[in-house]
Amino acid sequence: MAGTAVRGRLSTWQTATVAAVSSETARTRTLRLEVAERAGPGAFQHRAGQHVDVRLTADDGYQAERAYSIASAPGEPLAITVERVDDGEVSSWLTQEARPGDLMEVRGPIGGYFVWESAFGGPLLLAAGGSGIVPLRAMLRERARAGSDVPVRLLYSSRSWADVIYASELDFPAEGVRVIHTLTRSQPPAWTGYARRVDQPMLAEVAWPAASASAGGGGGPLAYVCGPTSFVETVAAGLVALGYPPGRVRTERFGGTG
């Protein structure tokens, strides 16, 4: 469980202005945020895979805080992608109410383990369940931004095609990136891809062979897995069963964030 340790005081809450909103799916929206202090010293410089704390304040002073994965690559305008949770007060505001000019607060970036930068190499195996795609999308954008040619396979599990986040972006992956969808509940007519929850045979077909670990000399395939707990448990345990060293499988799980 080695990584680049980053310690030191974390900056406090900063005011962020909603600069743009765009719908990804019926339940999911990307918000581009402008953070006042982003340009100065101690500015908001994140790494691909990190998250940000968001705080909303009501006019009666009531506050609520949640954490959201950053959807943008380092150096791009800060963006988060948020999925609406049915009784979620913060996610409801972010996905249904917020519009350009609205204010909130952000704190971060947070987390230093579930990150990827081009120096880490690969090949990369990215596995996403639902909105677990968000930090992995930041890694794909970082790969492009950094001009990395590390080979990537993305296994992305969604309920249906309408639930696929970043669908248009993933339709045209960069050279060296292969996107493999599985649609677990319903599939479009003539769908030829996977149509079930991720299981061991699917992982064995999609994942880079663990054997390339020793052959490559660079530590071998590196896996990032993000999604609901059951998805992450299945994929992470499955990769270990395929021979991935546990230290090469980094996970992030979405809990009951609302």
Binding site: M1, E89, G111
Partner: protein
């Protein structure tokens, strides 16, 4: 004054302020957060060790389970902002595990299968404040929640309650563990909202 987010209103019932620390919300789920795959260690190979004292101690699973255990009900608070009330556990108090150990170490580093570590002052492990738990909700502790056994230090943020714990190293100097090395707080008191370094 923090800026008002236009149109944002409370949707949830007010949380009991004496039970829910600042910045937390109540959940009925039991979310799982781990940095890597869930380790699986056979109970035949499992031990719990206390290192760094004058006389290190170690228990096999059978020896550990033969120690006096207790049932407890407590609230837990995760740094990712969920709090869960009245969780029920069964385990061995650190008072029992550290009893009779000669040491003057003020700090401890818990270590786990999978390489996870986290630091806790020894004073926070004693006095009925910490347990190595093997039961949750009336059954065995599931592997995804840290089974066969995890540390439980409920008065600190839940990342201090190391899953898959295998022992404690007594230290003269405080030493950051896994998440503390990535910018999380060295102590982690939820009532003082000590989430990150410097809070």
């Amino acid at each position: 004054m923090p800026p008002v987010s236009r149109g944002f209103h409370r949707k949830r019932a007010a949380a009991p302020a004496d039970r829910i620390p600042p910045g937390q919300y109540l959940t009925r789920d039991f979310p799982v957060l781990s940095a890597g795959p869930t380790p699986r260690t056979a109970l035949s190979r499992w031990t719990f060790s206390i290192e760094g004292g004058h006389e290190p101690k170690s228990w096999t699973w059978e020896e550990f389970r033969a120690l006096p255990s207790e049932q407890l009900t407590t609230d837990i608070h995760c740094v990712t902002r969920w709090s869960k009330l009245d969780t029920t556990w069964e385990g061995v108090s650190l008072d029992v595990l550290l009893e009779g150990m000669e040491h003057d170490a003020p700090y401890a580093l818990a270590f786990s299968d999978g390489g996870y570590t986290t630091n806790v002052p020894v004073a926070d492990l004693l006095g009925g404040q910490a347990w190595v738990v093997f039961g949750y909700g009336g059954g065995p502790l599931g592997a995804e929640h840290g089974g066969p056994a995890r540390l439980l230090v409920p008065h600190l943020y839940f990342w201090k309650s190391a899953k898959w714990v295998r022992g404690i190293r007594l230290l003269d100097r405080d030493q950051p563990g896994f998440w503390e090395n990535y910018g999380y707080n060295m102590y982690g008191d939820p009532w003082r909202e000590q989430r990150y370094a410097g809070d």
